[in-house]
């Protein structure tokens, strides 16, 4: 109950914050920064937020909406973009892919949004992609995903698969001496593509390593006892798990109940953020390793400020996962790009994006690549009982995004 109220209250509040209330340094004239008829006035610019706030995916997407609203309110407080306050139009994709496409069209055609922050699943992104390309919109997409896509009209602020996978496998091979891997996943495109990349990497690039099993379960599957027994038989050095949604909870609870001790059995996952641990329960997953680019526990001033601001806006109990942080990058990157391009025109934003640096990112420095993905570090975290991750490894350099990995097809 309180959470919902806070949410409603907050959206009203952000709405109020959107109104022009302070005198600002006048930005460039509207005619100069908007030549394509976007929703830009002398003191406002309109953007869209398009996530599921109802339906199955609401579980995951709520955090992204919160992060995007936080970023936008911070930008507005700091004077807006090109002297304009950002106004938000939020639409609900309702966990339904055609609805996403329809709402995307509404945001671009009726509302003339200068940019849209949204989508979460690959299915929803695939559904809106033709709309963004046809009506020339700009989408900032926050989720880590399987790669194999690149568009002028999308900036991918999460990691593509190779960025997220390779460093983690190398790490577990190097520090745990892992030789045998058991790949596990929910049965859809992201886990399958990711495991394909993982398998190629294990077999071709890690000496003496092999995959001893690979299993997929339908989305929403809640019974894992059989596969747990199978893993007890083959005793892999590493369980590599990419299970999502409600299945996640069932998998870790049953793993614990079956007597698999994660302090002895190495488990590496790329699909469990702090958000998911809320449902799984810290005591059920403590000891597992996760590989992604952001953990709430990252120790740097940017992140401390971000976590504090997030909790102030959305409540002390909120947790911040990888995607939530990536969603926070979207509005900030768009602002920096618009300032560099001195324009809101989508073509100019798309052209100006490569090379944009965001030094204030909670995950640390990020930069947009030519291919519209982000250069970013990858980290390995160890799950703790309190639901947070302790970071045990961080790649020394930024990893280049490679959405079409040649040797991994």
């Amino acid at each position: 109950m309180p959470r919902r109220r806070v949410l409603e209250g907050m959206s009203a509040l952000t709405g109020a914050a959107m109104l022009p209330r302070t005198a600002r340094a006048a930005g460039p004239p509207t005619s100069a920064i908007d030549t394509t008829g976007l929703a830009v006035t002398d003191d406002t610019v309109t953007v869209g937020i398009l996530h599921s706030i109802t339906g199955t995916m609401a579980i995951s997407e709520t955090g992204s909406v919160e992060a995007e609203k936080l970023a936008i309110s911070q930008i507005n407080e700091a004077g807006g973009v090109l002297g304009r306050q950002i106004k938000i139009i939020q639409e609900d994709g309702a966990s339904d892919w055609p609805t996403f496409a329809e709402k995307a069209k509404k945001l671009l055609v009726n509302d003339k949004c200068a940019a849209v922050f949204g989508c979460w699943t690959s299915a929803s992104r695939k559904a809106v992609l033709p709309v963004f390309e046809q009506y020339n919109g700009m989408l900032y997409y926050p989720t880590f995903y399987e790669g194999l896509e690149q568009s002028k009209n999308v900036i991918y602020t999460g990691q593509e698969a190779t960025q997220q996978i390779l460093a983690g496998l190398d790490w577990v091979n190097r520090t745990k001496g892992a030789k045998t891997f058991y790949l596990l996943g929910s049965d859809y495109i992201w886990p399958r593509t990711s495991n394909k990349i993982a398998r190629k990497h294990i077999e071709n690039h890690l000496t003496g390593c092999k995959v001893v099993g690979e299993d997929y379960f339908p989305l929403g599957s809640t019974q894992f006892n059989s596969v747990i027994n199978k893993m007890k038989l083959v005793k892999p050095d590493v369980i590599y798990a990419i299970i999502v949604g409600g299945s996640n909870v069932a998998f870790y609870k049953q793993l614990k109940a079956a007597g698999v001790d994660l302090s002895k059995q190495t488990l590496l996952t790329i699909s469990v953020t702090e958000d998911e641990i809320l449902g799984i329960g810290g005591e059920n997953i403590a000891g597992a390793f996760a590989c992604m680019k952001y953990f709430q526990s990252i120790d740097n001033p940017n992140n401390k400020a971000f976590v504090a601001a997030f909790k102030k806006m959305w409540g002390e109990k909120s947790v911040i996962g990888d995607v939530t942080q990536a969603a926070y990058l979207g509005p900030n990157l768009w602002k920096l790009t618009a300032e560099k391009a001195q324009s809101f025109d989508v073509d100019k934003i798309a052209a100006a994006s490569p090379g944009i640096e965001f030094k204030g990112a909670p995950e640390g420095y990020v930069r947009i690549h030519e291919n519209h993905h982000l250069w970013s570090r990858t980290r390995v975290g160890k799950a703790l009982v309190d639901g947070q991750y302790e970071i045990v490894y961080e790649t020394p350099d930024l990893i280049e995004p490679n959405p079409f990995p040649k040797c991994y097809q």
Binding site: Q223, N225, G245, K253, Q254, A257, E276, L278, G279
Partner: protein, 308 residues
Amino acid sequence: MFMGYSLGDLGSIMAMQGFAGLSLFSVFVLMALGLAIIFGQMGVINMAHGEFMILGAYVTYLTSYIFTNYLPSLFSIYFFIAVILAFCAAGLLGMLVEWGLIRFLYRRPLDTLLATWGLSLILQQVYRSVFGAREVGVDQPDWMMGAANLSDTIQIPINGLIVMVLTIIITVCVYLLIFRMKWGKQVRAVMSNRAMADAVGIDTEKVDRLTFGIGCGVAGVAGSAFTMIGSTSPTAGQLYIVDTFLIVVFGGAQSLLGTVASAFTISQARSTLEFFLSGSMAQVLVLLTVVGILMLRPQGLFVLKVRR
């Protein structure tokens, strides 16, 4: 795939696998019993069955929350109280729904399908508004988590044992209720001939309401038990509904024994196949077999022999 393993290893895996099959069996029975009462005995296609289960899960969550905060000394036994509360909450809501919605639709099975589907959407959104869209973690006392070590290599999940015991208790209660008590006789009388049952003085409306309530209550108990093995989120009920209908329909809708037998067949087939094939393939093969058998025997495995 068994090359290179010792006999002892294989033996313990087989034992654990056997237990996995049995525990899946009890999960299935628990899921399907409530629906077997509602769909089998009353002929109501209740698409909101999963949501009644999740109501039970949320009641368990609330109970655990209250015990952690106000009665921490009794936390280790809170689960039993939660099960009873879950039964009452889901049962009461069931009776309310029967009174407000279902009773107008008894002669229109397809309309009940739509109405209860709508009800399930409404309930999901209510859960989302009240408890938030995110999954909630239900704390379990320590003794209910983890595994019992039967030998060095054989570990049996304790929560599986609890679900099994709960299933046996509920099944026996339902059996006694329907086949050994006067009230059960009335239920069966109403189902086989409503007009005649009315004529001999059975209060059919009351019987309907109680039957529906008990079916929903059992669903609530199932949901409460599933907090140990699955997730508690507004839409988690959707994860169970297909399997539940599959079991009830495959078993022959009107037979409780059929429900148990079909749960056994499907659970054993699935857990064995999952061990040798991948999870998705096992699912596909089981569904194909069920479809095949239903084509040959549309009435399901077991049918009540009644004079028409």
